[in-house]
C-alpha cells in the first residue's frame, strides 16, 4: 500500500488570509483553516497511508476521498516512494545541453571611472597587460553565438567591460555584423549594454537607438554618493556628466532605461535615491549590495537589516502604485514577484554556464562576466568551442543537489544558493551557497510572497504585464 507524507511547505498570511507555499513545486495556494489544520497535524506524522488519513477526518465531512485526492493532486501530500523533488535533484544530474542564448562580450579591460568597490580590482593587471577586443574576435564571437543558438531563434549580445563605450566603433561594427549575419541565418539578434553613462555621446546614443539596445546605467544616486563612489580615474566627480548624458538618451530612446545602484555603507536613503533616479527619467531602479572583496564597503548585519527595512517600504509603495494602476519602477520587487508568479522550477540560481557565457578580448569563454579572465572558470574558446568536460564539471558542482546546506531550506527553489561569484568572495568557494545572507533572503522572500498574493487579489492582470516586461510571453500563461 502506498505511503504518503505532507510536502515541504511554508505558511504565510496576508490580507487576513492564509496561504501555503509548496516549496518543491513553487506553487502558492490560498488555504482555508481546515486544510491548514489537516496539514499541520499530518506533518508531524512522517509516514502514513490513505486509510489512516481518511479515518482521521471528521465523520461529518463530505467527500473525504475527494479531499484526499485533491491534496494529492495539488502536491500538498506526496507519495513517499517517489522520494520527492529533493531526491529527483540528485537523480537528474546536470544537463549536457549546449546552447547560447546570451553572450556577454567583454570588449575591454579599460574603464574611465575608478569606482571604489569595483570587483575587477582584485585581478586588475597593469595597463600594459590590459586588453581590448579586436574586431575579428568580436566577429567570431557573434558567429559562435549564432551557431550555438540551437534553433532558439534569438540571441542576446551584451556589450560589457570595463566601460564598453570606450569601444564605440567596435560596438558599431559588431552590431552591424551581428544584425546582418542574424538576418542571413534567420536568427533575431538583440543587444544590451551596461555602461557608466559618462560616454553617452550623441554618436553613442544614435548607435543605441539604431540597434534598439537595452541600456542599464550604473549610477549610485545623489551627487555626493556618486562622486564619492564612482569618480573618474583622476578623481574628478562624475555625477553631472552622467546625468547630462542620460537625459539626452532618455529623450530619444524608445526602450526603458534601467538604473542599477550599488549599495555600500549607510543604506538608509534608498527611498530618496529611487525617487531621485525615477525623477531623472529612469524607468526602473534596482539595488545590489556591493560584492567587492574590499571589506570597507561591505554591508554589515545592521546595514543589511536597514536595507531590508527600506526594501519593505519600497515594496509597500509598489503595491500601492499597483492599486492606483500606476507603475513604480522598483526592480528588486518586480523580479521577485515575477519569479513567484511564473513558479518555474530551477536547479541553478542563474543562467551562468548554462545558456549564458562571457567572452574575453582573446576569445576565451567564461561561465559569466564576473569570472572573466579567471582561468578556473574558462570553459573553452570561440575558435575551438566548449571544453565540454570542464563545463559539465562546473554544472555538476553548482547544481542545487550538491548544496547540502540548502536541502532543508524553504527558499531553496527561489534562491538556489545565489550568485557563484559572490559565494567565491564571501564563502571562499563558488560552489557553496551564500550562507552569509540566508536569513536576509528568507525575510525578503516573505515580503515578496505577501506582496505577490496581494497583487494577485487586487490586480491579477498586472502580474502578466510585469511578466511581459521580464520577457515572459503572456501567451504562455496558464
Amino acid at each position: 500500500m502506498p505511503r504518503f507524507k505532507v510536502a515541504d511547505y511554508k505558511i504565510f498570511h496576508a490580507n487576513g488570509k492564509n496561504f501555503v507555499f509548496l516549496i518543491d513545486d513553487k506553487a502558492i495556494f490560498e488555504m482555508d483553516d481546515q486544510i491548514g489544520d489537516i496539514i499541520a497535524e499530518w506533518e508531524k506524522v512522517s509516514d502514513f497511508n490513505d486509510q489512516e488519513f481518511l479515518a482521521s477526518l471528521p465523520d461529518d465531512l463530505e467527500d473525504r476521498d475527494e479531499l484526499f485526492n485533491s491534496l494529492l493532486c495539488k502536491h500538498l501530500i506526496v507519495p513517499i516512494s517517489k522520494g520527492g523533488p529533493k531526491k529527483k535533484y540528485h537523480e537528474k544530474g546536470c544537463s549536457a545541453h549546449l546552447s547560447v542564448q546570451t553572450l556577454v562580450l567583454h570588449l575591454t579591460d579599460f574603464c574611465n571611472l575608478g569606482c571604489v568597490y569595483c570587483y575587477h580590482d582584485q585581478w586588475e593587471s597593469p595597463a600594459t597587460q590590459k586588453k581590448r577586443m579586436p574586431f575579428h574576435v568580436g566577429k567570431k564571437a557573434v558567429d559562435f553565438a549564432l551557431e550555438h543558438s540551437n534553433n532558439y531563434g534569438r540571441v542576446l549580445l551584451v556589450f560589457f567591460g570595463g566601460e564598453p563605450l570606450l569601444e564605440l566603433d567596435l560596438i558599431k561594427s559588431i552590431a552591424d555584423y551581428a544584425v546582418r549575419e542574424g538576418e542571413r541565418r534567420g536568427i533575431q539578434v538583440e543587444f544590451s549594454m551596461t555602461t557608466n553613462g559618462t560616454l553617452l555621446t550623441q554618436e553613442a546614443i544614435d548607435v543605441i537607438c539604431r540597434c534598439n539596445m537595452g541600456i542599464t546605467v550604473s549610477i549610485d544616486g545623489f551627487p555626493e554618493v556618486q562622486n564619492r563612489n564612482r569618480p573618474f580615474r583622476d578623481g574628478r566627480p562624475s555625477y553631472d556628466k552622467v546625468v547630462w548624458n542620460v537625459r539626452k538618451l532618455l529623450e530619444v530612446t524608445k526602450r526603458p532605461v534601467v538604473a542599477r545602484v550599488t549599495v555600500t555603507r549607510n543604506p538608509e536613503n534608498l527611498q530618496r535615491i529611487l525617487e531621485h533616479l525615477l525623477e531623472l527619467g529612469f524607468t526602473e531602479v534596482g539595488f545590489s549590495p556591493v560584492t567587492s572583496g574590499a571589506s570597507g564597503y561591505k554591508l554589515n548585519k545592521e546595514e543589511m537589516t536597514t536595507l531590508l527595512a527600506q526594501f519593505k517600504v519600497l515594496s509597500k509603495r509598489f503595491l500601492q502604485s499597483i492599486e492606483r494602476r500606476e507603475f513604480f519602477g522598483f526592480s528588486n520587487i518586480i523580479d521577485l514577484v515575477v519569479t513567484l508568479h511564473q513558479g518555474e522550477l530551477m536547479d541553478y540560481p542563474c543562467g551562468a554556464g548554462l545558456s549564458l557565457f562571457a567572452v574575453n578580448p582573446e576569445g576565451r569563454l567564461f561561465v559569466c562576466q564576473r569570472f572573466i579572465n579567471q582561468a578556473d572558470f574558462c570553459v573553452g574558446d570561440i575558435s575551438n568551442g566548449f571544453d565540454l568536460e570542464k563545463l559539465l564539471e562546473f554544472r555538476k558542482q553548482v547544481h542545487i543537489g550538491q548544496k547540502k546546506e540548502c536541502v532543508d531550506c524553504w527558499v531553496r527553489t527561489i534562491c538556489t544558493g545565489g550568485c557563484y561569484h559572490e559565494a567565491c568572495l564571501r564563502e571562499g568557494d563558488f560552489a557553496k551557497p551564500n550562507i552569509h545572507y540566508c536569513e536576509w533572503i528568507k525575510d525578503w522572500t516573505k515580503v515578496g510572497l505577501e506582496t505577490y498574493v496581494r497583487i494577485a487579489a487586487d490586480s491579477p492582470a498586472s502580474l502578466d504585464e510585469l511578466s511581459l516586461m521580464r520577457g515572459y510571453s503572456p501567451m504562455r500563461n496558464l
Binding site: 488555504m31 502536491h75 522550477l345
Partner: protein, 110 residues
C-alpha cells in the same frame, strides 16, 4: 470540481490544479511543464477574447495555423498527431513556431 479549501494563486499552483481538473493523474510536473502547456505560444488565437489565465474554453483555434498544441490539458478541434504517446518528439523540430512552423509535417500512419 470543488476547490476543497485550496485556491491556486500562481501559475505553478494552477498547473497542478489543471492536472486535477482534467484528470491527468499524477504526471510528473517537470515533464508536464516541459511541453507547451495550453495552446501554442504564438498562434494561440483565442487569447484576445478569452484572456489568460483562464483556459480558452469557448474559442475555436484555426487548425490550419496552429500545429504545436494539443499537449497537456488542451482540447483540439482537428486531427493532429498526438504528441503524448505516439509522436512525443514531433515538435522538437519546431522550437519557435513563428520561424519553424514550416518544419512541421504531416504524419503518415502506416
Amino acid at each position: 470540481m470543488k476547490n476543497k479549501g485550496l485556491k491556486a494563486i500562481n501559475k505553478a499552483a494552477k498547473r497542478l490544479e489543471e492536472k486535477e481538473v482534467f484528470g491527468m493523474g499524477d504526471i510528473d510536473i517537470n515533464v508536464a511543464t516541459g511541453q507547451p502547456v495550453g495552446c501554442t505560444t504564438i498562434f494561440d488565437t483565442g487569447w484576445e477574447t478569452n484572456p489568460r489565465p483562464t483556459m480558452p474554453m469557448g474559442n475555436c483555434i484555426p487548425s490550419a495555423r496552429d500545429f504545436a498544441s494539443c499537449a497537456g490539458p488542451c482540447w483540439w478541434p482537428a486531427q493532429v498527431p498526438d504528441n503524448i504517446t505516439n509522436w512525443p518528439n514531433r515538435q522538437d523540430q519546431c522550437p519557435r513556431a513563428e520561424y519553424d512552423w514550416r518544419n512541421l509535417n504531416y504524419v503518415i500512419k502506416r
